[in-house]
């Protein structure tokens, strides 16, 4: 209860602001429609109508909730109209991409911290790689992959790995360099090998940085998976859902897909937070 109360309060505040915003943003359309029909609207009418438009600028929370309920609970989960099904498709690509991406990020960071050549040659290019607008090359990635016969989950996972490796790389480079000079000196005085220094000092010292980065990375991986679903071919997943919703102007559907994606991300971040707490407690670091 102590934990739920603040969350509920904030949620309530958000819903209230949301209703207000919906009323304000949708009002223009309602007034225009009335003007076109040569009618005048009372405030009460206005309020009622702004809450129940079919193509609102901003759907009211209950409309989105209805959309969510319809997409999640009312469909068989194997149905292509089920958000659970689409969510699962996206989730699997996200997890695959996250696994590849964070592994690559950690490995590159280890390389960078230990090798001067890698430090000087990889980092600028890793930065450059992230500035390549992913949506621009996502279609190309998918086209190129398709032309060598790779379709489905793998191209999406690659795009999502592409986006997620970078936060891990940056965070880990920092974290692996975080130990105090004296701690490194100790290791040197024991003539510890690089591997030993890594496992016993650098890695544990980097964990706070690692987890902060992983949380960012998993959200990025989800974005990557969704981006990978936008261009040709993908017709499953939350990205495809967002796109078709957007294409047909079904605002409620967009918001339902959006909230599902956000919920997914939040769950993943929370799961990481839990793992973080367990790991840090196991190491005696959580106080």
């Amino acid at each position: 209860m102590r934990r739920a109360l603040p969350v509920l309060t904030v949620l309530l505040a958000i819903v209230a602001i949301w209703y207000l915003a919906a009323a304000m943003m949708n009002a223009a359309w309602v007034r225009d429609q009335a003007a076109r029909a040569n009618q005048t609207v009372t405030t009460g009418q206005l309020l009622r109508e702004t809450m129940s438009l079919e193509r609102p600028v901003l759907p009211a929370p209950h409309q989105v909730a209805a959309g969510l309920w319809d997409g999640i609970a009312k469909q068989k989960i194997t149905s292509k109209r089920s958000l659970v099904w689409h969510g699962w498709v996206t989730l699997s690509a996200t997890l695959a991409g996250f696994a590849i991406g964070s592994l690559a990020g950690v490995l590159l960071a280890v390389g960078i911290v230990h090798s001067r050549v890698m430090d000087q040659s990889v980092m600028p290019w890793a930065v450059a790689s992230q500035t390549v607008p992913i949506l621009a090359i996502a279609p190309m990635v998918i086209v190129v992959m398709a032309s060598i016969g790779v379709t489905g989950l793998v191209p999406k996972a690659i795009i999502s790995a592409w986006l997620s490796f970078f936060p891990v790389l940056v965070g880990m480079v920092k974290g692996l360099r975080a130990p105090e000079a004296m701690q490194l000196d100790q290791m040197r005085s024991w003539s510890a090998s690089r591997a030993q220094t890594f496992w016993h000092l650098r890695l544990p010292a980097s964990l706070p940085y690692l987890f902060a980065s992983l949380k960012v990375a998993i959200a990025a991986a989800l974005v990557g998976a969704i981006v990978g679903e936008l261009p040709a071919g993908a017709s499953q997943g939350l990205g495809a859902r967002l796109l078709s919703g957007s294409y047909y102007g079904q605002t409620i559907q967009i918001w339902a897909a959006l909230l599902t994606a956000a919920a997914l991300a939040a769950l993943l971040v929370m799961a990481l937070g839990l793992i973080e707490r367990l790991v840090l407690r196991g190491m005696g670091l959580a106080r």
Partner: protein, 265 residues
């Protein structure tokens, strides 16, 4: 690679740059050779030479796109987003109630995927750079927030005790202790988001834009199969992004010179 090993060992500033350059040139060379040797069609992957020709041939166009997307869209959004994230992080740090209420909800809200938000924000903020900046704000907010919250918690017990013995109030402790201690984390977030800001600004243009901007150019050039121009824009993005990152990293070096990761030994 042997050259690289040798250069790396010298380790001066100039050689640092040349190591990266040698590495890059090697890749470019392989790319060019692959394009020629396998006769990869230019509409799939143009050769570096073709990209360069397109780059030098379209400089005024590219400059206009750069101003529209990066200076107006990405930079303003990044600054606003970073400020918002820092302020929120402090609010979260300050208030236990917000910490328990806002952080979980904040995780959720900030995890809204940008590709979903972009069309909505374009609808709300119009076609010009304002909507791009809004997308960037949403995109950079979460990474900076997460890092900043971690950073504000990064002081050690002795440092906090000292502040307590001086009867320093919250804001004093924040300014003199927690903020400096959070800087390494903050810069971590700022560096990650330099590139995110570019991606966000460019991607948002795919969802509606005036007839200029890097995202606009890329999507229309893809339609025209003018892949040379597409890659020239990507090159601009890469150069701008690296410069942006480099500047932030340089400031980081100045601002957090005292952190073990920045000290030379």
């Amino acid at each position: 690679m042997a050259i690289n090993l040798w250069l790396a060992r010298i380790g001066s500033r100039a050689s640092r740059l040349s190591v990266a350059a040698v590495f890059g040139l090697t890749i470019l060379l392989l790319w060019e050779l692959a394009c020629r040797y396998f006769a990869i069609p230019a509409v799939i992957l143009p050769a570096p030479s073709a990209i360069w020709a397109s780059f030098t041939g379209n400089l005024p166009l590219l400059w206009g796109d750069f101003v529209q997307t990066i200076l107006k869209g990405a930079l303003s959004g990044w600054i606003i987003g970073a400020l918002a994230a820092v302020v929120t992080a402090i609010a979260i740090d300050r208030s236990d109630f917000l910490q328990r209420g806002l952080l979980p909800v904040g995780n959720f809200v900030a995890a809204l995927p940008i590709v979903g938000i972009a069309p909505i924000l374009v609808m709300w903020f119009g076609f010009d750079w304002q909507s791009k900046a809004a997308v960037v704000v949403v995109m950079v907010f979460f990474p900076i927030l997460v890092n900043m919250v971690a950073g504000l918690a990064a002081t050690d017990a002795l440092q906090r005790d000292l502040m307590a013995t001086w009867g320093a109030g919250y804001w004093r402790g924040l300014w003199s202790m927690r903020l400096p201690a959070a800087l390494p984390f903050l810069f971590n977030g700022l560096k990650i988001t330099t590139t995110l800001a570019l991606i966000g600004a460019i991607v948002a243009e795919f969802f509606g834009s005036p007839t200029r901007g890097m995202g606009f150019r890329i999507s229309t050039a893809v339609g025209k199969l003018d892949l040379g121009l597409v890659w020239a824009e990507i090159l601009v993005a890469a150069l701008a992004g690296s410069a942006f990152y480099g500047i932030v990293a340089w400031i980081e070096g100045r601002a957090t010179f005292w952190h073990p990761s920045q000290r030379r030994r």
